[in-house]
């Protein structure tokens, strides 16, 4: 028969502090943190077309990103398509955003206070119903 779930132990075993990601430095000029917190996994980014005249010539990796986001694409999808860690892609996106070469569209805000957006939930539910 089934095992029974034991009562919750004390708070999660300290892994938040212990399990920090290593961010590869090669593509990011040695910086270890994004300069902006503008990018979540489901933030959508879009290349600015045409690019601003004052923009400096993008690096090859930046060009790869710009090519992938001619249409809006989520950060997680971009990372998967480029086969790069999200943390690396985000740092490059920060540079592109600062250079005015992309726009970033944040996710739909989700707040439980006071309550989730009923209209949004109904839209998602209707969409699932059509699957």
């Amino acid at each position: 028969m089934w095992a029974h779930r034991p009562p919750p132990a004390s708070e999660v075993s300290g892994s938040d502090a212990a399990g920090r990601l290593v961010r590869p430095f090669a593509l990011t000029g040695g910086r270890t943190r994004p300069s902006r917190a503008d990018f979540t996994l489901i933030t959508t980014v879009t290349a600015v077309d045409p690019p601003p005249e004052r923009a400096s010539r993008p690096q090859p990796e930046q060009t790869r990103i710009l090519r992938r986001c001619r249409r809006p694409v989520a950060v997680a999808e971009l990372a998967a398509l480029l086969d790069l860690p999200v943390s690396v892609v985000v740092i490059m996106l920060c540079d592109l955003l600062e250079a005015g070469l992309i726009t970033a569209h944040p996710p739909h805000p989700v707040s439980r206070t006071p309550e989730l957006d009923l209209d949004l939930l109904q839209k998602v539910r209707d969409g699932l119903g059509r699957l």
Partner: protein
């Protein structure tokens, strides 16, 4: 959803995005569920990890190879031209919980998937969402679609309150996985509606 892929739209207007987590223990069928409802083949990103943090938790059943990166599988459902839902499978091993915290931020809610043969693999996931007050439903994934236990028995063994739906499902089947997601949305809608009154 043929024809509504954002990639083939004429005007590049960014859609609003929302996400739901598909959580549960290692190997309970999370990526299978993501894949059965996603309009794209599930995508994967891999994050490199430090050696620190690798020896702090239970390593049972984890191949040595998996100790260097943590993979995240996800899928996409285009709800409309203006709204896209992403489904993220949470990394199964408890030592990757630091990623769950990040993933949980901004999520509508979660599905906790349970392998009917070893429910204990998902106990930690139930605890995670209960502690953080993130609404979830439980999907009991039958082995080869077989369900030897009724939902009430499973609810009891998980010590779940009445308001948490428990659904028997087959993560390989699109309709079955969709119905689990719809149950989550119904719970969210009921709670939002109750709060609004």
């Amino acid at each position: 959803m043929a024809g509504s892929d954002p990639a083939v739209r004429a005007a590049p207007v960014a859609p609003d995005t929302v996400k739901i987590l598909i959580a549960g223990g290692f190997g309970v069928g999370k990526t299978t569920m993501v894949g059965s409802v996603s309009e794209i083949v599930p995508l994967r990103t891999e994050e490199p990890l430090t050696a620190a943090g690798l020896d702090v938790d239970d390593l049972t059943g984890i191949e040595e190879k998996a100790a260097t990166t943590v993979a995240l599988d996800f899928g996409r459902i285009t709800i409309s031209e203006r709204l896209v839902l992403y489904l993220f499978g949470t990394p199964g091993q408890q030592r990757f919980w630091f990623m769950w915290n990040d993933l949980a931020v901004g999520a509508l809610g979660a599905v906790v998937l349970i392998d009917v043969r070893r429910p204990e693999a998902s106990f930690a996931a139930v605890d995670f969402f209960e502690r953080r007050d993130i609404p979830f439903v439980v999907g009991v994934n039958g082995f080869h679609g077989q369900h030897p236990y009724p939902p009430d028995e499973i609810r009891e063994s998980l010590a779940l309150p009445e308001h948490v739906p428990v659904l028997l499902c087959d993560a390989r089947e699109r309709e079955s996985s969709r119905d689990v997601l719809i149950a989550l949305l119904d719970r969210l809608i009921a709670e939002a509606g109750a709060a609004a009154r």
